[in-house]
Structures are given as structure tokens and as C-alpha cells.
Symmetry: C2
Subunit: 291 residues, 2 copies
């Protein structure tokens, strides 16, 4: 199975018996060229394999996880492909934060569909990750599109959790490292949602659709299904107090009896050293749920 | 055991139950400030542990291996510290290649003691790696200085092999990924040795002291001891034909009956994806020889 001209290969390295690949393609949802990385385990040579989507955090591209997390070893062991999208639309005509801040605009798409000008033209990362990219991946690579899980880090942990909670029928499991649990209630989230989505104009709060704590609350009303959740959070994470609101998610999940495994890891910080330490357990968790 | 003011901590992250640390210090051998990274496995909290020195390749700093190789997992499993020096002297007053080339000067010290002007003042990476840095490490960290091994990649594979072959009593084992096996006979090595060391001025060839193939040849004359050697070389490595001379080392080792395990790995290239794939086996090899 060889991808066609709709994707252009821009990187290829042998890794743990499989292949770490990188592609460029034109995104309709984002109206720009995008890059993504995909690891194909050795098992993909025999037929379609399950797939884990990995969503990265602020300032990252599709490459940080690929070079730093050490996930290929376990993706090869469990026979799971890993797809890493970029973290925002890219290109000369894609608007960025007015002051080039790291936490909004380029590298900071927050996995939402922007509705406000000038962001709405390109910043449709929710549609890209949920619909466009999986359709392309399932079409072009040896992937079993019925076996998808999703994970991510920080802003990407927020993305993974909100996307999975809104689409539990599509994903077998979701995990996160140091996710932004309640963007409505932290500076990163308020800045992003305020500009991408704007203020609520009627009784419906549009921000709540992109807030894990809010989605967990409504999950108890039977409006959405459930799925296995694993979260790791370092206790020495510099962003824990101001930005992540982990305890609020723990309390909210308990209050509505939503089963979530949320582990606090002493001494670990917000870095990829933390992710690399626990990525094996996350791959194992997803492998068990993708069976 | 806490380091004193002779080293300044500039990075610290929890990793696989141990600690990935980074320091700055003044090097006497190199006459400049240097950085190095050291991973201390969890076992170092109980007492001195063996240590592996890792020498990186062209353009690298002390950080590439730390972020990309995934070695901490196995260093923690086997209870081995890993020390990563930088690849050249650094600083405003350290001379660089006239055209800023990637393969000479900054980031390209080649682990030799330069004798030619203007390089001789700072470019003493051999003395730094063999003497100054281990003395500092053994003094400041919970390291068993009698249990040292050494490894490296490309230019650093050349460094590890030549240093170990010249000092087999100091190292329990040596390994290398895609080493420059015969710098005398390749463009990278000829450029570096020609400028750092200069031409031979009498019957003694000073380049031969920094050439693995030449050192292996003379090892058979009883002038130096032996030690366990493991080398991995990717067959899809872009530099294999012109720069690395792996087959010459295989033939030379065979001709003098020097036992070396040299493995050719189909499809792997020169990248850290190659290193990450086989680093577990190298750590296991060193752990067995460090017992």
C-alpha cells in the first residue's frame, strides 16, 4: 500500500523495525499546506493496524513527539501506528498572535473550530483532527480506521480529552499527559477561546464544548457515552497550579461517577522526559482497548 | 552527594525514576566554559554507580543524545549513569571554521588534541574527555570511577573507539553507532586532522593515533591491550560509502584477530532513529562488562 500524490513524503527513517514517515499535504479544513508524521510498525507490512493519534502541546509541531517521546519502541511492540498532526494551521497567510506570543495563533490552535475573524478562515483544528486527517490516513495508509485511540500533552491533552469525550463512539480509549483540564478557567484557555470562539452571545456557552471538566459534567446526563481514560500529571509541573486544574477534573469526575484513572506522579515536570517515562504504559493501555 | 560550586546546574528533570541533569563548568583543558549532561539512575541514590560516556557526532551538543536516544530507560534498568560532553570547545573567543562549515571547528572537535595554530589553544577534546571530565565527574557525583565504558555516534563513534583503544585499562567496554572508522582515509577526517594536527613532520605519523583502523593494526603488536567492542552500522546510511569505512575496519580486525562484534543493520540510516532502536542492546552490552 503506497500513498498517492495527495500526500508528499518529506521524511522516512527506519525505526524499531518499522518506518517513521513524514508527509506534506493540502488541508481543505485548514485551507493551507500541513505536515504530519506517521509511524508504521512492522506489523503494517502484513495488513491494517490500529492507530493512535497524538496531539502535541503549545509551540510544538508534528515532530516533537516523534523525536523525543521514544514511543516507536512500544508502537512496534504492540503493532500500533501513531499519527502526529501539527498544532495549528501554517503558512504565510495564516494570521498569528499580534505579538507573536507562544500561547496563541501559530503552534497554538487549541484543537477548536474558530468562529471569530480573522481566525475562522484557517483555525479549524477540530475538524482537521476529527474528520479530515483520519479520512486521509485511512485512505492512504495500512490503517484499520475502526480502531482509533487518541492521546496528547498539555494543550494536546486538552485536545485529546475533549475530542474523545465528544466522539466516544469513534475512539477506543483516550489518554493525556498534563492536560489543560479546564480551559474556561485558566489563562491559556481564556486567551485562546476568547479570540478563536468569542464570548457567548446567547444562553448557550460555546466555550463549554471545548472544556474537559464541562464535558465530563454533562456526560452524566446521558447525552454522550463513555470511554476508558488514563491521565498522568507530574506533581513538579510548573504549570499545574495556574493552568492545568487537574484537581478540578478529579473532583468533577468523582462527582458524576465518571471512571477516570488520573495518576499524580511525584517529581515529574511538564517536559518530554516525563512523557518518555510513562509513554510505554499509555501505549499498553491503548493496545488493550484497541484489541 | 551534592556537587560543589565548581559546576553550575543549568537543567534538571525527573526521568525514569532518576534525574537528567545538565551543568556548566570551566574547563582547564579547553580554556573555556563548557556544558555537559549527566543522567543519574535511581540506584545512584544508594551509592556509586558505573558510568557510560557518550560522545556525539558533528553539529551536536551535549543535548542531542539526551533528548533523542531514549537511553534513560535502560540506564535506569541497569543502574548506569550516562555522561554526555559537548563536541568541541565553545565561546566567543574559540576559533571556528573560516566558512562556518559543519564539519570543522565548533561542534566538530573530533576528540583530538590540536597541535596547530590557532586550534591548539582550545581544541583539546581528547584531554577533556579522557582526563579532565572523568576527574570532575568522579569527584562531584555518585560515580564509581573504576567502572567506566564509552560509546558514541559517527565522529563520536570515532572518538569512543580511538579513546578506548588507546586506554583499554580505563574502560570496561566500548561501543559505537556508525563510527568514522578510518579518518585518515575519508574527507571528514582528512579535513579535521589536517588542520588540528597538521602534516607529519618526521617518520612518525601523528594522525595514526586518532585512527581506529591504524590503532587496531598496532594492537596486534602487543603495544596495547584489548577490550570488548560492539559496533552497529546501518546499511542505508548516506555516509557509509564515502566517510565511514566500516568494511576496512571489519577486514583489519579480522586480519589481526582483534575480536570485534560489528553488525550491519539493513534499512537503518545515520539518524537518531537508528541509535534509539539499538541503544537498549548497547546499554545491556556495557552493563554486562561493567559488572
Amino acid at each position: 500500500m503506497v500513498p498517492d500524490a495527495s500526500v508528499e513524503e518529506i521524511g522516512s527513517n527506519q525505526s524499531f523495525g518499522g518506518r517513521q514517515l513524514r508527509y506534506r499535504h493540502r488541508s481543505t479544513a485548514l485551507d493551507c499546506d500541513m505536515t504530519f508524521s506517521i509511524y508504521l510498525p512492522p506489523q503494517a507490512q502484513q495488513g491494517p493496524v490500529p492507530v493512535l493519534y497524538w496531539l502535541s502541546g503549545l509551540t510544538c509541531t508534528d515532530e516533537n513527539f516523534v523525536t523525543k517521546a521514544g514511543a516507536q519502541e512500544y508502537a512496534a511492540a504492540y503493532g500500533i501506528a501513531i499519527v502526529c498532526p501539527d498544532t495549528s494551521p501554517r503558512g504565510e497567510d495564516v494570521p498569528d498572535d499580534a505579538e507573536g506570543a507562544y500561547d496563541f495563533g501559530l503552534g497554538a490552535g487549541f484543537y477548536v473550530n474558530a468562529t471569530e475573524s480573522p481566525w475562522a478562515k484557517h483555525y479549524k483544528m477540530y475538524d482537521y483532527v476529527v474528520d479530515e486527517l483520519p479520512a486521509l490516513i485511512n485512505d492512504q495508509f495500512p490503517i484499520d480506521g475502526n480502531k482509533m485511540s487518541i492521546s496528547g500533552h498539555s494543550m494536546g491533552g486538552h485536545g485529546a480529552l475533549t475530542i474523545a469525550l465528544k466522539n466516544p463512539e469513534r475512539y477506543s480509549s483516550v489518554s493525556a499527559f498534563a492536560p489543560i483540564c479546564a480551559p474556561i478557567q485558566c489563562p491559556w484557555g481564556q486567551k485562546a477561546l476568547g479570540q478563536y470562539i468569542g464570548d457567548a452571545t446567547d444562553s448557550i456557552d460555546p466555550w463549554a464544548e471545548y472544556d474537559t471538566v464541562e464535558l465530563v459534567k454533562t456526560s452524566s446526563k446521558g447525552t454522550r457515552g463513555s470511554l476508558p481514560v488514563l491521565i498522568d500529571q507530574g506533581e513538579a509541573d510548573n504549570f499545574l497550579a495556574e493552568q492545568l486544574n487537574t484537581q478540578l477534573l478529579i473532583d468533577t469526575a468523582a462527582s458524576v461517577a465518571f471512571p477516570m484513572r488520573i495518576r499524580l506522579q511525584p517529581e515529574y515536570d511538564h517536559s518530554y522526559f516525563f512523557i518518555a517515562t510513562f509513554i510505554e504504559e499509555h501505549l499498553k493501555f491503548h493496545a488493550e482497548n484497541l484489541r
